[in-house]
């Protein structure tokens, strides 16, 4: 299987190399920049799909497509160790799908200095592919930073309203989250005595000689809050709606859709397997804060007037499900979280993409100033309804989301049965804010503001250039929903080989 390991490397390297290429061709005219940059997003997708097809679900316990490269840091136990397992593969593929959609949309944007924008986005894409392919914790972290820094730049330079404030707030929060988790990871490294950042070696080492309970406890706390900030765990979420509200759409798609999953992925693949006894102390914290995500943020989402902020809050709300699924500590719960991460990544990217298209037509994100768009742009409204229904977990467009949520519900019921009432309430709350948004934007009569803006900017329906990126995301959603086994087969095997999840299974 390791024959194709180079494809993993290529899917990280290709966007990075092409990012610099876009700077080279910047004087060759717009089409050249577009073709080059879109290639940079298309290649990882092609490689990822190929790897997905080749992946053998019965890969015993470990990783497929493994490659190890010395980067000159071997004296501290760091090497570029890449590979994919059943947990990372679906996210790796999802990252490449969202990447292509975001890239296609960015390539046609009218932003100034579009080549620099695409450069940032391609660097980010490279980091994203690297995050999910890293077996080495150091590089796992490194790739996250590689993706994060361009995000700040893109928000600060190409962002919308309040961009400098948003960029600053995002930087503070996310840097802090990343630092806390880095401290936690270093603590594990130092205390384990394995002298290696390699996840597989660390795991083997810690299985033989686990860390003392108090160390596990502190380290897990650091990782939980560090990752928690990155995943917008309540009440450390305030950067998210603000940041996404200001971010240019492609950056928001990649960050909310993919990069945000870094924290959850870190908990599932790194924190819990390495610190199996650490979570016990924090269980109540996770449960209560995650309930804050579902219930408090659910209500907050209902109160939003700004479409993009509302989508941002809805995404924060869904992270509550993910934390609860993780807290359940079972193959079912964590498996559900992985499916939900994939589905949510595609859905939220789609919603940010479409909300920008709405903005181009209404010149505003204020939902009170919209209305009646369905008559003028029926295709756009069909896409948006589809996306919103997916987001609220309606089986159909949101079948994948539904599988994730249902698995989490089942796992949570076995974990703490009383929680079920609180979290299933989320399906009512999300229906309320989701349908409210659809009704305000698309149905009813046109508002005066909207009529006014149409005089300056006539409204047209979605063009094909706009449809293609949205269609890519929708097709991916439908595919995962209707053929969930393409994900769950390998997922089951990988999670079952993780003793900490498998042991709690009945």
């Amino acid at each position: 299987m390791n024959d194709f390991a180079s494809l993993v490397q290529y899917s990280i390297a290709a966007p990075l190399v092409i990012a610099f290429l876009t700077l080279f061709v910047r004087n060759w005219g717009r089409p050249a920049i577009q073709i080059v940059s879109v290639t940079g997003f298309a290649l990882p997708l092609i490689f990822a799909l190929f790897l997905w097809g080749l992946y053998d679900p019965s890969t015993p316990g470990g990783y497929a497509f493994v490659s190890k490269m010395d980067t000159g840091l071997s004296m501290i136990g760091v090497s570029l160790h890449l590979g994919l397992n059943g947990v990372s593969l679906p996210l790796f593929v999802m990252a490449s799908v969202v990447g292509l959609a975001a890239g296609l949309y960015a390539a046609q944007s009218k932003a100034e200095n579009v080549h620099r924008y695409l450069f940032c986005l391609l660097v980010m894409q490279s980091g994203l592919m690297g995050v999910f392919a890293s077996i080495d914790i150091f590089f796992f972290y490194f790739f996250h930073e590689l993706a994060l820094i361009p995000t700040f730049v893109m928000v600060g330079v190409w962002g919308g309203r309040d961009r400098s404030y948003a960029a600053m707030k995002m930087t503070i929060y996310l840097t802090l989250g990343a630092m806390l988790s880095l401290v936690g990871l270093i603590l594990i490294y130092v205390k384990s005595g394995a002298e290696s950042f390699d996840l597989i070696e660390l795991k083997a080492h810690l299985a033989a000689a686990p860390l003392a309970d108090s160390i596990q406890n502190y380290a897990f706390g650091l990782l939980l809050f560090g990752f928690g900030i990155l995943v917008s765990l309540w009440p450390l979420h305030t950067w998210a709606p603000l940041g996404y509200g200001a971010a240019p759409s492609s950056a928001a798609m990649l960050h909310a859709g993919v990069l945000k999953k870094f924290g959850l992925y870190g908990l599932i693949q790194v924190a819990i397997p390495l610190l199996p006894d650490g979570i016990g102390q924090w269980e109540n914290w996770i449960v209560w804060l995650a309930l804050g995500n579902v219930l408090v943020i659910g209500f907050v989402a209902m109160a939003q007037r700004d479409l993009k902020q509302m989508i941002g809050y809805s995404s924060v709300m869904h992270m509550g499900y993910a934390f609860l699924g993780i807290a359940a500590m079972s193959v079912l719960g964590v498996g559900g979280v992985v499916i939900m991460m994939v589905a949510h990544g595609l859905t939220v990217a789609l919603l940010f993409l479409l909300s920008t298209m709405i903005h181009h037509r209404t010149q505003t994100f204020e939902m009170d100033e919209m209305g009646g768009l369905a008559k003028k742009a029926p295709v756009l409204s069909a896409f948006f309804v589809c996306a919103m229904m997916a987001s609220i977990g309606l089986p159909g467009p949101g079948l994948a989301n539904f599988w994730g949520e249902l698995s989490i519900f089942l796992a949570v019921y076995d974990f703490r049965s009383g929680l079920i009432y609180a979290i299933v309430l989320g399906i009512v709350i999300s229906a309320i804010y989701g349908l409210r948004a659809i009704a305000k934007v698309f149905f009813g009569e046109e508002t005066d503001e909207f009529k006014e803006s149409q005089k300056e900017v006539p409204v047209t329906d979605m063009t094909w250039a706009e449809r293609v990126p949205a269609l890519i995301l929708i097709i991916a959603l439908f595919f995962i929903g209707f053929f969930p086994k393409t994900v769950t087969n390998s997922l089951n095997d990988s999670l079952n080989s993780e003793p900490v999840y498998a042991q709690t299974e009945n």
């Binding site: 249902l406 299933v424 229906a431 089951n492």
Partner: protein
């Protein structure tokens, strides 16, 4: 060829139709309507093949597997499925044909017919589903198609509001339903319906009631019935198909599918919810002016009968110690499904008839602005009358009489109070329907539109005639082909118990009283509601629908939205000022002092924030 291919076909035809319309014929309504009606015809043919030519069968294929949770996609075809399949395919086809006429001049009819196809797909999936999860998936999808079609007239704010309300109220019911499914899985370890029915594990009242929540939402039972009358904002054929004959009856179908998960306590609750719904909706219907609203409340009321029938009959079965298991059909299921079937005929007929009227009267829906339609629209008049006679349970010659009597007979044996309530409900039914009939059809026209009404074409009247036949003959077992008989016969048999003469007398008296009272009370083709002048307070309560909508509107606007805004506000203040800045301020006090809070440099913010968070973390792990 495997039997399951036909079942796949049933799903494939409408899905392909919807897909083709969405991608290729969005702008060509004529082609779209042709495709959709063609798909409905194929569905009918396939359904008939499954019903008559195929044995009962079950087919499952693994769909998703995570740990011990696995869901199968599959079909469970038994007598219950076949009966429901017949209703859906038959009424569905007729409504499609009727729509060809009704929607002829609508510029967006491609969207309408596409929506109908999606609905057929979802509804058939619901009927065929072999597992609770698949059933739930299609259950949500019928809700979605209903949402789309209620909101069909995009620029009407009332339609947008009604579609939103329908979806959200249904989700409230699904909240319980989904928790019920989670609990069923936890208790039984499977969600496959036939495995569940053979399981030894014990069910609980809570599980039964949670599953029933789904029915309360979808079948418009108290207190979640409020969405159904509002759903009449959709085009009338949609009201006939989705909000009268099939989707709203899915809740009853769900009960029949999962009857073995009910306990006696749960059944008692179900029974009384059904009875209360039948009465409240019956009273409400008396004071409505809009022809479709009257029919909608009537639907709610009749669904109450079906739910009560299920509760009553299943209680009898539990009392006799009959196991639900393999046999599936108990008296409760039989009575509920019998009434569901006849109701599908006559209520679809009444809605299509009202559609025919509304179409002819240029979208006039107020019965007090109609009048004298009997002469202008003879076919509509006579078929509508047939449906009406069936609904009010005209003795001996109509379907409604037989199916309603089966329910009354069950009530008479099981629960005297429920029996009297249901008899009162029957009086109300006769009363509000005769009121409608006399005011809309007799007398002289009360508006310009009614003046110029004329009969519609064959494409609209033939479905009416066919449904009228069903409404009259659907109460007799011999009317049904062999394959559909088992459940109908069992339901009809309930009418031949020891007490059948007594029950019949009550039923006939109720019919006479309700009909006579309305006949005497309301003038032919009246222009005003006499009840309003005679008993103003009573009329006010009824016209306000017992204030359910008022209370919910108040809750949404004054409670829910304000709470949301308040939480948002508090959160903004608390988080950005108190916790984050406060923590930074705390660290700042110790170190540099409060003033430097406002230097505005990212660096210092980061440090304070870290300090605050470290403190937070230290507190959390209990260092202090």
């Amino acid at each position: 060829m495997g039997s399951e291919l036909y079942a796949y076909g049933l799903l494939a035809f409408p899905l392909l139709s919807a897909t083709f319309i969405a991608f290729f014929f969005r702008r060509s309504g004529a082609v779209a309507s042709g495709i959709s009606v063609g798909a409905a015809a194929l569905i009918l043919a396939t359904a008939l093949h499954i019903i008559f030519r195929l044995e009962n069968f079950e087919y499952n294929v693994s769909w998703i597997e995570i740990a011990n949770f696995n869901v199968e996609f599959g079909f469970l075809i038994n007598d219950l499925t076949k009966l429901m399949l017949f209703v859906v395919a038959f009424v569905g086809f007729l409504v499609h044909v009727f729509s060809l006429g009704y929607m002829k001049d609508d510029p967006n009819k491609a969207r309408f017919f596409g929506g109908l196809s999606i609905f057929m797909f979802s509804m058939l999936g619901l009927v065929l589903a072999s597992s609770l999860v698949t059933l739930f998936i299609f259950w949500e999808l019928v809700g979605f198609s209903s949402y789309m079609l209620i909101g069909y007239y995009l620029d009407k704010p009332s339609a947008a509001a009604a579609s939103k309300k329908a979806f959200i109220v249904n989700r409230v019911g699904d909240f319980g339903f989904l928790i019920g499914i989670v609990m069923v899985f936890s208790a039984f370890g499977t969600l496959n319906l036939s495995e569940l029915s053979h399981s030894e594990a014990a069910t609980t009242t809570l599980i039964g009631l949670l599953l029933f929540c789904g029915t309360v939402g979808k079948s418009g039972q108290l207190p979640l019935h409020v969405w159904l009358p509002d759903a009449m904002e959709g085009p009338t054929p949609v009201s006939a198909l989705i909000h009268a004959a099939t989707m709203v009856a899915a809740g009853v179908f769900l009960l029949c599918r999962t009857g073995f998960l009910m306990t006696a306590d749960a059944l008692n609750v179900i029974l009384w919810v059904g009875v209360a719904t039948a009465l409240v909706a019956g009273f409400t219907a008396i004071a409505q002016r809009d022809i479709k609203k009257i029919l909608a409340y009537s639907t709610v009321s009749q669904l109450g009968y079906m739910v009560a029938a299920f509760g009553l009959g299943s209680l009898v079965a539990l009392g006799n110690g009959d196991s639900h298991g393999d046999a599936i059909v108990t008296g409760g299921v039989a009575a509920a499904m019998f009434h569901l079937t006849t109701h599908a005929f006559f209520k679809a007929l009444l809605f299509l008839g009202s559609g025919s009227i509304i179409h002819a009267c240029h979208h006039e829906q107020d019965i007090f602005r109609m009048g004298g339609l009997a002469k202008k629209m003879p076919i509509t008049f006579w078929t509508f009358t047939a449906g009406l006679l069936a609904l009010i349970g005209t003795p001996f010659i109509t379907a409604g009489f037989h199916s309603k009597d089966a329910i009354l007979a069950l009530a008479y044996e099981q629960n005297t109070l429920a029996f009297y309530c249901l008899v009162l409900g029957a009086i109300l039914t006769a009363f509000y329907m005769v009121r409608l009939w006399k005011i809309a059809f007799l007398g002289s026209p009360k508006s310009e539109n009614a003046e110029h009404a004329s009969e519609n074409g064959l494409v609209m009247t033939v479905p009416l005639i066919l449904l009228a036949v069903g409404s009259i003959l659907g109460g007799f077992v011999w009317f049904y082909p062999e394959a559909l008989r088992p459940i109908i016969a069992l339901g009809e048999e309930l009418n031949h118990g020891d007490s059948h003469t007594t029950v019949m007398i009550y039923s006939i008296v109720a019919w006479v009283v309700g009909l006579g009272a309305a006949w005497v009370f309301y003038g032919a083709g009246a222009a005003d509601d006499k009840l309003e002048s005679v008993a103003k307070p009573l009329h006010a309560v009824l016209a306000e629908k017992f204030y359910f909508d008022r209370i919910y509107d108040w809750y949404v606007a004054k409670v829910q939205q304000r709470v949301a805004v308040a939480i948002h506000f508090t959160e903004q203040i608390a988080l950005s000022v108190l916790i984050i800045r406060g923590m930074a301020g705390f660290a700042g006090l110790i170190g540099i002092g409060l003033r430097s809070l406002h230097v505005g440099s990212i660096h210092s913010y980061v440090y304070w924030f870290i300090g605050g968070l470290a403190l937070f973390w230290a507190l959390a792990v209990g260092l202090f």
